[in-house]
Amino acid sequence: MKRIEAVIKPFKLEDVKDALTEAGITGMTVSDVKGYGRQQGHSELYRGAEYVVDFLPKIKLDLVVSEEDVDKTVEIIANAAKTGKIGDGKIFVSPIERIVRIRTGEEDEEAI
């Protein structure tokens, strides 16, 4: 079981969700986040004074998949979220120790 976290551009969320659903990967948690990487911030202007917005709005996807789906999922997200311009985001993969589905009490692979 692996957890896949992907930080993507907000307007790419629909594309990523549709591509994952099409591939049979369902269920995810989405949150509004702010951050920057190499892209860094951008400057805005207010009443004649310039200021830098360091943290740009991004969307973070959280999903957990079984081992055999990991590579496929990562590839789908990377393709769907890609614009080729700076600021497309990153994907992080990490192991998961245990999962419990609250309603039924199912655990681990059954609970994905």
Binding site: E44, L45, Y46, R47, G48, A49, E50, Y51
Partner: protein, 395 residues
């Protein structure tokens, strides 16, 4: 026209103008609520509400008598004449309170509002429009100021300058290592709504100040006044927009609306005196002054979140002098030096009296909230009510 008909029409006209001016209460409230951060919105709205209630009440009980001696009018119902004058008083205080938003405590500022609406503003009205205690002294004013470029806008502006000098800037606005930390507006749609409500209110503010509409001459004067008022607002918006684009390659709506309001303040001293094209120049210069004044006040570290100094003080002075430049008429007693004298006398009185009163209040009840209260926001600390409790707090 039959005298009684004229009386009824002028009463109706004054009441109509009164209602239009009261639209400026939500106008100021929305403009300010949009320009401050979400953590200070309720406090700003509370201040606006208190000002309307308390300043109007103080004017009813004390201020009106100081300004005009007593109730009474031959040309319209005396109650309509009172209501029309009462509509202005809150505006003077609003100009002052908006500029110290996000760090001034409500209660001491409300105490100042009482003094300002009961004594300071009525004295300015007394020597400009009212029973004139300065008559036959060397200070007697000949200034022409139809609807109050000086009497209302500059008076409020000078009080604001005194308040900013005493209260100081918002925390972190001018960092120690120099420059200006930008604190962006929280709600641009509210700023736009407020700006246009003020603009609409201005038609009553200036149109009603002609005083009578019940004859052909007066009807023409009222219509010309409203036309010229509107034109100055248009020119202020256009010129400030063009200047913003030339200077920064961006079109900042908050500056364009401030530019429109600057044009409206500039025309307020003499909209009935100009032809229909002069207001383009007067309002346009008003808009340009706002674009240059906003960064200038920041250089001076005078923190004014809503641009009230630039809109009301700077353009109140410009508008009053503009009468002397474009409509000078020595046979009617309108001269540039007379206008300048009015600006200076009101400036000295309004600034010094406001400074003394604010200084005294500040010794008794500090006007500024504590650092912690300012960081957490005035809404929670002063009002206990957050404006947007279901949204994430913006820091």
């Amino acid at each position: 026209m039959e005298a009684q008909t004229a009386y009824v029409i002028d009463t109706f006209f004054a009441l109509f103008a009164f209602v239009l001016i009261i639209f400026m209460v939500p106008g100021f409230a929305m403009l300010e609520a949009g320009l401050v951060r979400t953590k200070n919105v309720t406090a700003v709205l509370m201040m606006n509400t208190m000002i309307y209630a308390i300043a109007s009440m103080a004017f009813l009980l004390v201020g009106y008598s100081i300004a005009f001696g007593s109730f009474g009018s031959d040309s319209m119902s005396q109650w309509a004449a009172f209501l029309f004058q009462m509509a202005f008083v809150g505006k003077v205080i609003n100009i002052m309170s908006g500029g110290v938003s996000e760090r001034a405590k409500i209660i001491p500022l409300t105490i100042f509002a009482v003094v300002m609406s009961a004594v300071i503003y009525p004295l300015v009205v007394n020597v400009s429009w009212g029973s004139d205690i300065l008559a036959d002294t060397f200070l007697d004013l000949s200034m022409y100021d139809l609807a109050g470029s000086t009497v209302i806008h500059s008076t409020g502006g000078w009080a604001l300058l005194a308040a900013i000098l005493i209260i100081g800037a918002r925390k972190g606005r001018y960092p120690k290592n120099g420059g200006v930390r930008v604190i962006p507006a929280s709600n641009i749609p509210l700023v736009t709504l407020g700006g246009f409500l003020l603009w609409i209110g201005w038609f009553g503010f200036n149109g009603g100040s002609v005083g009578s509409i019940a004859s052909k001459e007066n009807a023409d004067a009222v219509a010309l006044t409203i036309l010229n008022t509107n034109t100055a607002g248009l020119a202020g918006a256009i010129v400030s927009g063009i200047l913003m684009y030339i200077t920064y390659k961006k079109l900042d709506i908050t500056m364009v609306l401030n530019g429109a309001l600057g044009g409206l303040v500039a025309i307020t001293a003499g909209p009935d005196l100009y032809n229909i094209y002069q207001p383009i120049l007067i309002g346009g210069i008003g808009g340009a002054l706002v674009v240059f004044a906003v960064p200038m006040f920041d250089k001076l570290k005078l923190d004014d979140p809503v641009g009230a100094l630039s809109v009301h003080l700077v353009n109140g002075i410009w508008g009053t002098l503009a009468v002397g430049i474009f409509a000078s008429s020595p046979s009617d007693g309108i001269t540039f030096t007379g206008q300048l004298k009015g600006v200076v006398v009101v400036a000295v009185f309004a600034f010094i009296s406001s400074y003394i009163v604010l200084f005294t209040i500040n010794k008794l009840i500090p006007l500024k909230v504590t650092n912690d209260e300012e960081l957490e926001g005035l809404d929670v600390n002063e009002c206990g009510v957050e404006a947007y409790p279901e949204f994430k707090r913006a820091f």
